[in-house]
Amino acid sequence: MSVLVWRLYRAQAAIAAVLLTAFAAVLVITGLSMASQWHTMLLGCTASGTCGDLGATMSLGGSVAGHDLVLLSLAAPVLFGMLVGAPLLAHEFEARTTDFAWAQSVTRRRWLLVKVGWTLLAAAVWGGVMAALVTWWSGPRNALLENAFQPSTFDMQGIVPIGYAVFATALGIAAGALLRRTLSAIAITLGGFIGLRLLIANAVRPHYLGTVTAYFSPKLSTFTPPASAWVVSQGLVGKTGSSGVRGFATYQPASHYWPFQGIETGIYVALALVLLAVTYVVVTRRDA
């Protein structure tokens, strides 16, 4: 059964490997040049004692091509979901190859488990390799700009892309099992993925853990939260029991970065499991 899955997917596996190789080549080349630029910058600012305000005065562009690819990596999970997840069952139903597969000695349950298992593993590898490359590439930028916790940057580094890729693929598989049409499943994957990602990133993520709130005198026109923190809101509050207002900044400290990565990945993997359970019920209970 595993051999069958490999033979079904070897062309897609080859294309995915070529894409990952090209992606890695661009990121490694531009990343090495950015790392040496960062090294030069550090030497320069150490000599002149200006490393404290490096972030305000210097920019680390990396190259345009590297930056484009890093942004495009945000779309990689949904591409896998659309092109591998959605057709996984839908195309079998459309081409009626399920009629043949289910007439063999392999049970429907085993057929589904092996196919889905290998594909989800591939999705996790796809998301993980992209994320590892982007995380390495972003190292100097994370250090200079201290922005690893900010929206969009958070979404393409660490382990969350693995969760996104597994979820997008499971969504494509479940949509294919329910609708039995490839194009409809692709549309559901695209819409569902974008909708959920926006909803969680904008409305849910700021509340994973309690925030830290700092109050400061409004005479200090600006307040800088600790390095690499994620400011979720700021403004002015009236002080109860006395006249005058205070400024406040509510933020998630940098120490919450990895717990947040873990929580977000967990949410997406849990949703993927629910979708797989639905798929399992639909496929095993449906008449051939």
Binding site: Q37, T40, M41, S48, D68, T182, A187, I194, L198, N202
Partner: protein, 333 residues
């Protein structure tokens, strides 16, 4: 034949209309709110005389949801190309329904012409409606931030989304005709559309027309007029030649130019960090005939650029349609 196309596509048409209705509802609700917010901001800044200093980042305008939808509108053309363009022929080949279609009294050319014609028209309407909604929604932001000529904002307003949408759909149709498989055609639309869009907007758009260049003193400060698209800046030497810049280092660089390429007399001043030495280096360079320059595309060229970019995408789409006709007509059934 037109009636057949309608029957084939009525569920997709209903679905697209529904998506557009939701999109329109969100943009109209958030847009009206933003328009009244803009009105309040204008009243306040007129009263305090600070209207000149409204900037993106300092002034928040528009809701997160509306903003998300405006950004998502950039995906609209590719989605149409993937879900309508790519399967147009590929699905017929896969399901072998063209065997039946081509056995009828309608010629293959007419079958293709009517199908492709109506779908491309629908793609243009789809792109146009999305663009008009986003253009209207962005009105207050355009006025406040003068950023409609900047990358990304240019790409979601005006008429260019019509060109993108027709191109993405034509790409899907042509890929479907060549591969005769839906999924590879979908993949080609994603890759081709993103590649073409990124390449054209980053490397080609700035050169549609010769930019306007302004020269000013080495230490001077010049901001291009509001609403223009800056395409270059730096220093020129005594003969007016542009000096190569190096942004990869903050060591051995003066005003972005390697110190080694400056005149010998100014090099030692330029390599010192103190403010007085830097000012002296600026005077030294000015005496040697050096200038700063900024080149930009003025705001008055916005619609010319919109027209040129739309024209390019429509021309490529036409080429793809020609390839499709050639492939379909010359292939054995």
């Amino acid at each position: 034949m037109s009636f057949l196309v309608w029957r084939q596509y009525r569920s997709q048409a209903a679905f697209a209309a529904l998506v557009l209705a939701v999109f329109g509802a969100v943009l109209i609700i958030t847009g009206l709110k933003m328009a009244s917010q803009w009105h309040t901001i204008l009243s306040a800044c007129t009263a305090s005389g600070t209207c000149a200093s409204l900037h993106e980042g300092q002034t928040s305008l528009g809701s997160v949801v509306g903003h998300d939808f405006a950004i998502l509108s950039m995906l609209g053309p590719a989605v149409f190309g993937m879900l309508v363009g790519a399967p147009l022929l590929a699905r017929e080949y896969e399901a072998r329904t063209m065997d039946f279609a081509w056995a009828q009294s309608v010629t293959r050319t007419r079958w293709l012409l009517v199908k492709v014609g109506w779908v491309l028209l629908a793609a243009a309407v789809w792109g146009g409606v999305l663009a008009e909604l986003v253009t209207w929604w962005s009105g207050p932001r355009n006025a406040a931030f003068q950023n409609w000529f900047q990358p990304n904002y240019f790409d979601q307003q005006g008429i260019v989304p019509i060109g993108y949408s027709v191109f993405a759909t034509a790409l899907g149709i042509a890929a479907g005709a060549l591969f005769r498989r839906t999924l590879p055609a979908v993949a080609i639309v994603v890759g081709g559309f993103i590649g073409m869009r990124v390449w054209l907007s980053q490397d080609v758009r700035a050169h549609y027309m010769t930019p306007v260049t302004t020269y000013f003193g080495v230490a001077g400060n010049f901001n291009p007029p509001a609403g223009s698209l800056q395409v270059g800046s730096g220093m020129t030497g005594p003969n007016g030649q542009v000096l190569a810049q190096n942004f990869n280092s903050n060591v051995g660089v003066f005003n972005g130019v390697p110190i080694s390429s400056l005149p010998h007399a100014c090099q030692s001043l330029a390599s010192q960090a103190s403010m007085s030495a830097q000012n002296a280096a600026n005077r030294c360079l000015a005496a040697a005939g050096y200038h700063s320059y900024a080149s930009y595309q003025p705001a008055s060229r916005y619609w010319a650029f919109q027209g040129i970019e739309t024209g390019i995408y429509l021309a490529v789409a036409l080429l793809l349609v020609a390839v499709t006709f050639y492939v379909v007509r010359h292939r054995d059934a």
